[in-house]
Amino acid sequence: MELRGYDAIVTLQSSASQLASSQDRRIKSAEEPRLDWWSIAAIAPAIVILVGFLLLFFYGVYQSLTDLRFGRPLVHFIGLNNYAALIKTEDFWNSIRATLVYSGSAVLAEAAFGLALAKLFATEVFLARVMRPVILLPLVLPPMSVALMWTTMMDPQNGIMNYLLSLVGIGRFAWISDPVTAMFSLVLIDVWTYTPFFALIIFAGLQGINEEVREAARVNGAKGLATFLHIEQPLIAPYILIAAVFRLIESLNQFDIIFGTTQGGPGNSTSVLSVRAYITAFQNLAFGRGAALMVVNWLIVLVGTFAMVKLWRFVRQRVS
């Protein structure tokens, strides 16, 4: 139990920071720091494929500086004109707002519900042990299937969701077909799908907490809530944050769920950057402009990730 928790923490650290834990291993094998041909041959194909994608990425950034349109042979380098044109439009700022609202509220809600779900399943009551695989269910479904599943369930005419609401006396709710409620509905779908992700990671964190620490707290007279606030919370906070980093990146890039339900509508209410970029590039055929939108999206992801990782380092230092 103790050992498993330790392992989990090491893996978590290794997947986010640059593997502080491997330093002792490096010292041990310091006698043979050589580059042999076998290793190169083994790692080269993977590197070549991935560098290929990296080049495409840079090509995409370059395209955002051109006036490339599909089906037009002449391409001009126009510098930052695409970006300059974008920031003048109301739609662009609306997309940025939609992207931030969507991922911000989804990640916050998922963290809160995920913590509750993890605590609940960590009680290890009978049903918690039996129902454990159910947590995985939303995570393994294709996001597109999830999107369409909820589209049918949220049908304002005869969807099951409105029926369930009518049972508790709430009248017809428009869900994704009304600009006012569309964003809320999308966040709800995201929360249903990815709360289990937080729950699984926080669950691993809870299992890693040494039983003796809890026992000591109890002997010293700490009650349930106090144990949670002063003992558990500082220890699982890094887990919550690392899960939040992963989810923030993915939800800022979210395309499937939004494209499968509203395609950015009704009106402009849910047109996040990735959906707007798709429509600009593949429906309006303005590839340069679409690429520029994706570069902006990528910059937001980058800034968000750096902020979260900084916060995570801070929280982890507080523990150790």
């Binding site: 590197i47 009551v125 699984l200």
Partner: protein, 286 residues
């Protein structure tokens, strides 16, 4: 952590867990029920929970010869082709990723090469690549070199999703194998290649099967790449969206399509729950 609780507390906790599990499972149960209903039964208000099940919707999905002749008007669906596409692309991606990724994972776990951690981090970074930013230039490149709408092109482009995952997972599984075993074999004079083939690979097999399940799932999930880089070779997720014709809503047929795309992941949970948990949480759960 087993704590002694009073019976009422236990009951309440069980009840709460039951409610959560119900919220997570109910949409799937509802869609399964819907896929077994007639169109008229789906359109009624209030929704019906009792009905006589029919397999008509699944017949409409797969019966290409009969397409157009359904009990609720004309609908032309060819669902078998996209499913075949998805299976071919996902299996192809898994095979290519295993061949290319596992050796890389081994080197990153065991050999002391320069910039090792930087390479590992670079590879993990692709898990969060803005896929659309790669696809926009890829579209022009694929059109030029003739890879647009081919299995080969699709399998290659799916590597952006599956390859980083398999490198990362196989590395973590190899690090779980005690190094002593390899060193002992090397002491006895076995060549490095023989050590890997006869000692590491057999020990790695369960982990690799789990990792393959996971990346098959990731490939099966993908929608954006198929939407933009293929038409006749489009995966099943793209075909699903086409079932939702604006105006004419054949919800039960779409529900049947959803059941088909969701049944495979659900089977995979039953086969490899632990492995999926580990993979989906990037190794936080062991």
């Amino acid at each position: 952590m087993r704590v002694n609780r009073s019976t009422p507390a236990n009951l309440i906790l069980n009840l709460l867990v039951g409610v959560c599990a119900f919220i997570l499972a109910f949409p799937l149960i509802w869609i399964l029920m819907m896929s077994l209903k007639q169109q008229a039964e789906v359109m009624t208000w209030p929704p019906t929970f009792l009905f006589s099940p029919t397999l008509e919707n699944f017949r409409v999905l797969f019966d290409v010869a009969q397409a157009g002749a359904t009990s609720y008007g004309t609908i032309k669906v060819d669902f078998l082709t996209p499913i075949t596409n998805s299976v071919v692309i996902a299996l192809g991606s898994v095979i290519v990723s295993l061949l290319v990724g596992v050796p890389a994972g081994y080197v990153l776990a065991r050999r002391d090469i320069p910039l090792k951690e930087d390479i590992a981090f670079f590879i993990l970074g692709f898990r969060f690549a803005p896929v659309l930013l790669v696809v926009i230039p890829l579209f022009s490149v694929f059109q030029t070199i003739g890879l647009y709408d081919t299995y080969l092109g699709m399998i290659w482009v799916y590597q952006v999703v599956t390859l980083p995952m398999i490198v990362w997972l196989s590395r973590s599984y190899i690090e779980d194998i005690p190094k002593d075993i390899e060193e002992a074999a090397a002491m006895d004079g076995a060549k490095p290649v023989r050590v890997v083939l006869h000692i590491v690979l057999p020990l790695l097999k369960p982990g690799l099967i789990g990792a393959s399940l996971l990346i098959f799932l990731l490939a099966w999930h993908n929608f954006a790449l198929g939407l933009m880089l293929s038409s006749t070779k489009a995966p099943v997720t793209v075909a699903l969206l086409k079932l939702l014709n604006p105006g004419v809503q054949f919800y039960p047929v779409m529900a049947a399509g959803l059941v088909v795309t969701m049944i495979i992941p659900v089977i995979l949970i039953v086969i490899g729950q632990r492995h999926l948990e580990r993979g989906l949480t990037f190794g936080a759960v062991k």
